[in-house]
């Protein structure tokens, strides 16, 4: 789950990481009011779950409250990577002497949290990683011990080798960043940039925090941070039924059980000359209701020209899926042709159910995909 910058900053604040003040506005008037309270220059930043916000024009400096209003007018309602900006964060502009990068991530290769720091902050850190990897310093955290003080200190002294005061501030921030990560159940946490002000203070100017979805059950306060409005509505609907849905650009609507098979199905659509309209995993134990929801979501997408079901019954029972399809078509007008491939657990019953309802079912994946692609072209 993604949370907004202003939410991540609130978590930072609770953990004692120095963060400049800031307030959220949903209207230009609010932005002006906040800016006039802060006085002086402010920065207005789109709160949206998409990268490349700056390049897209979602971050603007304003030298006074009037300008802040204008900036907010431009940013609010803007679309960034398909998501509409509904909130902006207004913060006082900071004097910046230096920008560094601090981050932590679960590194699957080592099975460990890895802390990263670079004196080249503020810019695209991936570029630093690609071009000058020696400017990115790392500390791997042994989960048995947690982050040890000497590791935080070591990383901090690599950032600021000749400045003990900043190194000590950084060590403290690193320690608190790691604590924030653990407490929030994050799989990724970043401060970019971590600035040094002209007077030598370190501050977190931007904040990013991705929460491991598996943590949400036990992290109630974090789960409440979900901003449903800022997410695609079909994805929200899918999640509410335990489905995973991601919208894509094609026209073959896919409904598959299992993420791996879903991806392989999409690949096969492409292989046979089609374009998948979505990724949709109905998961393991699929009830008829899930299938109904899945079909509702797929048919609501106007670009879908053909629907493809691909089910390999293991835990998933093919008859459940067949019942779901029949049920759904009683409630919804599909409007586009449907191709159904089912094999595995209770395959025979499923075929019977479908044929009784006037559908035909296939057992070969390639054949089914080919047909669905063809149907989308007509």
């Amino acid at each position: 789950m993604n949370i907004h910058e202003y939410q991540a900053k609130e978590i930072f604040r609770e953990h004692g990481i120095p963060v400049p003040p800031g307030e959220v506005a949903t209207t230009p008037a609010e932005a002006e009011e906040i800016a006039s309270r802060f006085g002086g220059g402010v920065v207005v930043k789109a709160q949206v779950h998409a990268g490349g916000r700056g390049k897209a024009g979602g971050v603007k400096l304003a030298s006074n409250a009037k300008d802040a209003r204008k900036a907010a007018e431009k940013i609010l309602g803007m679309e960034i990577k398909g998501l509409t900006v509904r909130k902006v964060l207004v913060s006082p502009a900071e004097d910046i002497a230096h920008e560094a990068y601090l981050g932590a991530i679960v590194d699957r290769a080592n099975g460990a949290v890895v802390l990263m720091a670079s004196p080249e902050g503020g810019i695209d850190i991936e570029e630093v990683a690609a071009k000058t990897p020696e400017r990115i310093f790392k500390e791997e955290v042994d989960a048995r011990y947690g982050l040890l003080e000497h590791q935080a200190s070591r990383l901090a002294f690599k950032l600021y080798p000749n400045d003990a005061s900043r190194a000590r501030q950084a060590a403290d921030i690193i320690d608190k960043l790691y604590a924030s990560m653990i407490d929030a159940g994050a799989s990724l946490i970043e401060i970019n940039p971590l600035i040094t002000t002209e007077s030598g203070e370190l501050k977190a100017i931007d904040a990013k925090l991705n929460v491991d979805d598996n943590e949400l059950l036990r992290k109630e306060k974090i789960a409440e941070l979900r901003d449903v409005e800022s997410e695609a509505s079909e994805e929200v609907k899918a999640r509410s039924q335990g489905l995973t849905y991601i919208k894509l650009d094609g026209d073959v609507g896919c409904c598959v059980n299992g993420a791996g098979l879903a991806m392989a199905t999409m690949d096969l659509v492409k292989y046979y000359g089609g374009e998948p309209a979505n990724f949709l995993d109905i998961g393991g134990s699929s009830s008829p209701e899930k299938v109904v929801t899945a079909l509702e979501i797929i048919t609501a997408d106007p670009s879908v020209k053909s629907i493809l079901f691909n089910i390999f019954g293991g835990i998933t029972r093919c008859d459940d899926v067949a019942n779901g399809i029949v049920e759904a078509t009683e409630q919804i007008e599909l409007g586009v042709p449907i191709t159904i491939r089912l094999t595995g657990t209770n395959e025979e019953q499923a075929v019977e159910i479908l044929e009784d309802a006037g559908f035909s079912a296939m057992t070969d994946m390639d054949e089914a995909v080919k047909k669905a692609v063809e149907l989308a072209k007509n």
């Binding site: 990268g51 981050g103 991530i105 679960v106 590194d107 699957r108 290769a109 099975g111 460990a112 949290v113 890895v114 990263m116 850190i125 991936e126 990683a129 690609a130 990897p133 990115i136 790392k138 042994d142 989960a143 048995r144 653990i182 159940g185 799989s187 990724l188 970043e190 991705n210 491991d212 598996n214 943590e215 059950l217 036990r218 991601i246 894509l248 598959v256 059980n257 299992g258 993420a259 791996g260 098979l261 991806m263 392989a264 999409m266 690949d267 096969l268 659509v269 292989y271 998948p276 990724f279 393991g284 390999f312 019954g313 293991g314 835990i315 998933t316 094999t343 595995g344 994946m365 390639d366």
Partner: protein, 291 residues
């Protein structure tokens, strides 16, 4: 022959009285798996299906029944602890089916298992099956057939798809291992490759990967350096939207974006042939095994 588990493996089921646990225990017993014990704290002394003794702790189950492998079906919030309990009780092979375990918990649990000298398969995986011998997990028994192909996969149903294609083509399997799709898992592709290389009943290996991470790339290098047996790969996710899972931050560490394209290229560079579709797998396998 098989890897990790065979007909002599004595299995304890953690969470045997739960909905999934009881269903799949019966499935495993039907397949022939030696289910010697179940564990549900507070139900010690009872029997599952009038047959399998239930214990309060894994330690007791191991002491009383000599169980040397465990399959875990407990809910996500108890699963990491169940893994640790199994390892702490001397169980050599721990197969965790449960999905939804927080990754931060798994960082500790995988360390714990390693510190105790056990092997963990999973979590969030379909488990493993050694056709004709034993099944630990949920892979449907009717789609497999005893034979010379070792199968390793990060996925669930995609594995079934590939295995079913193999079986239909007359290519049976020595063992099929679903290593799980989570970011942090107990047994890697390489662990399985090594085991299949050393298993006399295995003639070739199928490796089913996905986008994300660098496990496939590492496996490819391993194959080139250490494997005498042919390996055929498949990678799902060529059309998957980038940046939806771990984002790019993983790339800062690994220097890899983990795309399907990158993985397929690395496979080919290291002498691993790649099937473009699951259905293509049997043909390529036959070719590499005969050539």
């Amino acid at each position: 022959m098989a890897i990790f588990a065979d007909s002599s493996t004595r299995v304890v089921v953690q969470g045997i009285t739960g909905r999934d646990g009881s269903f799949h225990t019966r499935q495993m017993m039907e397949y022939g798996t030696k289910i010697v014990a179940g564990v549900t704290p507070g139900k010690g002394g009872q029997k599952f299906d009038d047959e399998v003794p239930i214990f309060n702790t894994v330690e007791e189950a191991v002491e009383e029944t000599g169980a040397n492998a465990s399959v875990i079906y407990v809910p996500a919030r108890f699963a990491a602890e169940a893994i640790c309990e199994a390892a702490d009780s001397g169980v050599e092979l721990v197969v965790c089916i449960s999905e939804g375990i927080p990754v931060l918990d798994m960082l500790r649990a995988t360390r714990y298992v390693r510190d105790h000298g056990s092997r963990l398969i999973g979590p969030n995986c379909p488990g493993m099956i050694s056709p004709g011998e034993t099944k630990l997990g949920i892979i449907p028994g009717q789609i497999v057939e005893k034979g010379p192909i070792g199968v390793i996969s990060r996925s669930g149903t995609l594995t079934y798809e590939v295995v079913w294609a193999l079986t239909q083509a007359g290519l049976g399997q020595s063992s099929c291992i679903g290593i799980g799709g989570d970011p942090v898992i107990g047994t890697s592709f390489i662990d399985c490759l090594e085991a299949f290389e050393n298993d006399s009943s295995t003639g070739a290996v199928v490796l089913i990967g996905e986008i994300g991470g660098t496990d496939e790339q590492n496996a490819a290098s391993y194959v080139k350096e250490h494997m005498s047996k042919p390996v055929v790969g498949f990678v799902a996710g060529q059309t998957a939207p980038p940046g939806r899972r771990m984002g790019h931050a993983g790339a800062i560490i690994s220097g890899s974006a983990g795309t399907a394209e990158e993985k397929i290229d690395t496979f080919r560079e290291n002498g691993v042939e790649v099937a473009e579709r699951p259905a293509e797998m049997p043909k390529i396998l036959s070719k590499v095994m005969n050539g």
